[in-house]
């Protein structure tokens, strides 16, 4: 099954509770030495270096969950409420908005979450979408 956003993530090693573990595709700039996410075709967003100066760096997909909340209204055709969205630090200083698998009862601020590929339907086709889940199973 194809990844929904293959420019952001790749299938990693291992299996999570909701699907295969994903790695995240970041960029390391050879000019300024700063990490950014995601890597793009445009170069370094920090210092403006040309794309050729940026090397892809795989992040392990583990992140620190900073805050989260449940969406109750259909804010976009792409989401089906209720669903949980959060902010997480995917690497030191890199904070990204993420989508969380399941309901909010299994999450807490500060916990470690990991990226997994969750099967969803897009335009009648099944794809693996990047979602985050608790990195460690509940005891």
């Amino acid at each position: 099954m194809e990844l929904e956003k293959a420019d952001l993530c790749a299938i990693g090693a291992g299996q999570g509770a909701n699907g295969p573990v994903l790695t995240l595709r970041a960029g390391m700039c050879g000019a300024c030495g700063q990490l950014h996410f995601p890597i793009t075709a445009y170069g370094c967003p920090r210092c403006g270096a040309e794309p050729g100066r940026v090397a892809e760096q795989a992040l392990d997909g583990r992140a620190t969950l900073l805050s989260f909340a449940t969406i109750h209204s259909r804010l976009s055709p792409l989401i089906t409420p209720p669903c949980v969205v959060g902010e997480a630090e995917i690497a030191p200083g890199l904070i990204e908005e993420i989508m969380l698998a399941g309901d909010e009862s299994q999450y807490a601020d500060g916990m470690t979450v990991r990226a997994v590929g969750v099967e969803i339907a897009r335009g009648g086709t099944a794809v693996l979408a990047c979602r985050f889940e608790p990195a460690e199973a509940a005891p």
Binding site: S73, S76, L78, E96
Partner: protein, 380 residues
């Protein structure tokens, strides 16, 4: 860098509006002309007196202003359409002010007019995906920030509802507001859940409408015998977002930076402000910006609100028009509508919404992307 107060003085001499409303069959020409004719009447000017115009709109299409002005006289005035997302009207006002301040024109017009529905965001054509399908929805970012602040500072859902209740209650006395019904904290909390603690009445509605502001030079004041109460534009400041540092959103950081710069340019401090119209697309924003603008101490925005300091009659009336939450946010007109409110307040013509002894006011908008823009106005 040359700032507005280094150039020749600019005065707002006429303001007008078409009521903000939910999407309707009303033509944009009708709304725009209504606001424009009201502003001309307010200034005591005729359309041929206007030498240039900046038209803020996001969803009507190319050349909206030129089509609109063809229905009020082919005067040959210079027309420029301005798109800066939610700050389109504010940017149109900025350009009109600079046009006069620089000496290029004597009388210039900022007109904001918009219809709901045709807006296309360039971020959709960026060619870069986001991890979350909600990453370009501002409401989600602010709801997450509210969740963080709830735990960090003791902010409550009631605080968010109090902002919305205040602004809806202000708008109840505003004939141009999209919502004109007082709402209690309980009403706000009981409205439709949107995300986290956010309910629908804590969020701006989408809609349509128009607002106009005419600015002129001191020479034009005399030549055209404009006798109204002159309101001088002291500063006009715009910046864009830098990379996020820590938990503070880029839009909040840039709002602080713009406020500090615009105070410096205007030669004032936050203590000099009696009235502020700010970007409260979501109630949490008003709490954040009252802190970042220095109206209250950092971390005390919700206490300042609870004390009534931001109510009409308080230390500094915040969003006496009803703000984006209740007056409405039709995008193109919003920033010019803020100027309309500040001018009415500084003239002492705001009726039941009048902030006593208002002499200095600030209008602040955020535009998607993110940019922040602020103008300080003073009654001379």
């Amino acid at each position: 860098m040359t700032v507005l107060r280094d150039m020749r003085p600019v005065y707002v001499v006429g303001v007008g509006m078409h009521r903000y409303q939910f999407a309707s069959d009303t033509n944009y020409i009708h709304m725009g002309l209504t606001a424009l004719r009201a502003a001309l009447k307010d200034a005591g000017l005729a359309f041929p007196d206007v030498e240039s115009a900046f038209v803020g709109c996001t969803g009507i299409g190319m050349a909206a202003g030129r089509i609109l002005f063809s229905h009020i006289g082919w005067t040959g005035l210079a027309v420029t359409q301005v798109e800066n997302a939610s700050a389109s009207g504010s940017s149109a006002f900025q350009l009109a002010c600079l046009e006069v301040a620089s000496g290029r024109r004597e009388v210039s017009l900022a007109l904001g007019v918009d219809k709901f529905g045709d807006q296309v965001r360039a971020v959709a054509k960026e060619g870069v995906n986001k991890l979350s399908d909600t990453a370009t929805i501002p409401l989600v970012k602010y709801a997450l920030l509210a969740e963080y602040l709830k735990k960090e500072k003791g902010l409550t859902a009631e605080d968010l509802a109090l902002v919305a209740s205040k602004n809806h209650t202000n708008a109840a006395d505003n004939p141009f507001a999209q919502f004109q019904k007082p709402r209690s904290v309980a009403d706000v909390l009981a409205s439709k859940p949107v995300m986290g603690d956010f309910t629908s009445l804590m969020c701006t509605p989408r809609g349509e409408g128009a607002a106009a502001a005419i600015v002129c030079s001191e020479q034009a004041l005399k030549r055209l015998q404009i006798n109204g109460i002159p309101v001088r534009v002291l500063s006009s400041t715009l910046e864009s977002e830098r990379p996020q540092v820590g938990r503070e959103m880029g839009s909040v950081a840039v709002a602080r930076s713009v406020a500090q710069r615009t105070y410096h340019e205007a030669g004032i401090t936050a203590d000099d402000l009696q009235v502020v119209e700010l970007h409260d697309a979501f109630a949490i924003e008003e709490l954040l910006y009252t802190e970042t603008f220095g109206l209250c101490k950092t971390g005390e925005g919700h206490f300042w609100l609870r004390d009534g300091a931001s109510r009409i009659g308080g230390q500094c009336a915040v969003n006496p028009s009803g703000g984006l939450i209740a007056q409405g946010h039709p995008l193109g007109p919003t920033g010019v509508g803020q100027i309309h409110e500040i001018v009415q307040q500084l003239r002492g013509q705001a009726g039941p919404r009048q902030q006593p002894d208002a002499r200095v006011g600030m209008a602040h908008m955020i535009g998607l992307g993110t940019i922040a823009i602020a103008h300080v106005l003073r009654r001379d």
